[in-house]
Amino acid sequence: MSIGGLLGYLVSFAIMAGIYAVFCLGLNVQWGYTGLFNIGIAGFFCIGAYISALVTSPPPTGEYAEYVHQAFSFNMPFPVGLMAAAAACGFIAFLIGIPTLKLTEDYLAIATIGIAEAIRLIFNNEHWLANGPRGLVGLPQPLKDFFINFGLKPRDYNYIYLGIVIIALVIIYILIERAIRSPWGRVLRAIREDEVSASMSGKSIFNFKMQAFIFGAMVMGIGGALYAHFTIAISPEVFTPLYGTFIIWVMVMAGGSGNNKGVIIGAFVIWAIWTGTRFLTDFLPYTLKARAPYIRFLVIGILLEVILIMRPQGILGEEKRVSKLAE
């Protein structure tokens, strides 16, 4: 592989790992700090990707109009797509939260699995909404035309996109760090540790949980939008429990739930293992090659079990003191 090819590979690796890091930060707000057991990340992933795709893409024209059905297309700029994705996910989280956040944590888990499955089924079966199982292709990419007018080669566009993902990741990281180090963030941790004593201190458990759930879901929506505009083609089969939920959980558990730096490290480490095992499966005998992805997921699954038993706090572990005043 040439140097240029290697560099190009590393850039797309970093983009995907960065997008997964955004999801991990969102999950960290819900699980790491508040103890909300959301295993329907794929649903928010899917909604974020589709909403941003629909909001930013121009209406299909010419021959495409015959084959591509989508409920709406607003041709809006990229940032509007991100905000719409976040708003839609926040709203879905609000709806899910009403029946489940007052119950024990397992009910939230079951309900989030349910919503993720329902969302995927809807996008798969309702052809008028977003083209059914064939999905949407040729999604617009931010600033692409602008840079190509400056003479950038289309294949080098990923460098620009990497910059966009890093900026988004840094902004979300700073926002969450500030929120967690505020009194609001300390209430979340108090709820996670002991709901009864938090509620005796006069805090509304339901309201705080709801806020954390919505906040985390909005971050996931942005992650979904970033994914859609990177791959420029989305279809419902991407947002399965494996790619959409499970691997993100493994990243958070590996990096250290309750530690924002940790979960970002976790995202890069697990994504490196996931993409790295692809090279290893090249050595498999021919008959097993078609099943290589399953073997790689088996490895990820076993990794999660090992982490849960051997090192439940993850690589970094939780940062215990998060108040500036507690030094």
Partner: protein, 304 residues
């Protein structure tokens, strides 16, 4: 409409078998076993392995019984698969959940471990058998019987109902009459009291996994006979299983049976107006409604 209800009872009886195990595990260990659907998948595929592998090699004939679409091979494979999956469930408990339990990990960590186990089981099935839809016995389906009121039902489906009733009666007698059954009910009621009364909790847990796993395997095989086998089948059953257990008050075995029937009938009736692929979503919708109006389920006296 009546026909769909009958099919719903068949599907519901299969859901009941799975939901009983899920509810028992929750009742005793207080954690949501997200791997339960995949234990069903495992059961269905272990039976497939027996039918196409060892039983064919030792020369068990592939003939069928009268009006049914299966023969001796499934009859032999059925209990073997139940035992194997019971063993798998106990093995998972020994290597995963027991370590977490003894360390005092919360129920959420246990549930996450179960989620990991569910993916491991499914990946194992996918690696060995691939992702195609398969049947126990390829070929034409046997003609359906014509019942009064214009209901068509296959002989297989009648037998599925009979097998479910037999298994449930055996379970009922086990829980009511045997020492272990009583110990299980006592542990589900109050684990600490059971422990100080001298009940060996670890043995109770082992039996719970064994029975839950065995029933899940039976449910998976029966679904395979009724419809077909697919590595994702158990995952698609997960929402109906939880909906049935919650509807019948989670931890309550008799509630899980009723819940399973209700969910199965509702899922089949929904196909009159919705695409059949929406069945899991229908179960989910019912679950959300229950959580909103009566989260403790129909048989739950108190909220946990």
């Amino acid at each position: 409409m009546l026909e769909l209800t009958v099919y719903g009872i068949v599907l519901g009886s299969i859901i009941s078998l799975g939901a009983i195990g899920l509810s028992m595990v929750y009742g005793i260990m207080r954690f949501a076993n997200f791997a339960h659907g995949d234990l069903m998948t495992a059961g269905a595929y272990v039976a497939l392995f027996m039918i196409t592998g060892p039983l064919a090699w030792i020369g068990i004939p592939d003939t069928t019984f009268g009006p049914f679409s299966f023969g001796w091979r499934i009859v032999i494979a059925f209990p073997i698969s139940m035992l194997v999956v019971a063993g798998v469930a106990i093995f998972l408990d020994r290597i995963l959940y027991k370590a977490l339990r003894s360390r005092g990990s919360g129920r959420v960590i246990m549930a996450m471990s179960a989620l990991g186990a569910s993916f491991i089981i499914r990946m194992g099935v996918l690696i060995i058998w691939g992702s195609d839809y398969v049947f126990y016995r390829p070929g034409l389906l046997r003609p359906a019987l014509q019942l009064p009121a214009g209901i068509k039902i296959r002989p297989d489906q009648i037998l599925i109902l009979i097998i479910v009733v037999v298994l449930v009666v055996i379970l009922h007698l086990f829980l009511q009459r045997t020492r272990m059954g009583k110990a299980m009910r006592a542990t589900a009621d109050n684990m600490e009291l059971a422990r100080i009364s001298g009940i060996d909790i670890e043995r109770v847990i082992m039996w719970t996994w064994g029975i839950g796993g065995g029933l899940a395997a039976a449910a998976g095989i029966l679904y395979g006979i009724d419809v077909q086998l697919h590595p994702g089948m158990g995952w698609n059953f997960l929402l109906p299983l939880f909906a049935a257990s919650i509807l019948g008050s989670i931890g309550n075995i008799y509630g899980a049976m009723v819940g399973g029937l209700v969910i199965g009938i509702a899922q089949q009736l929904s196909t009159a107006v919705l695409l059949p692929t929406y069945k899991p979503a229908v179960a989910f919708l019912i679950m959300i409604v229950i959580l909103l109006i009566r989260p403790q389920g129909i048989f739950g006296g108190r909220r946990r």
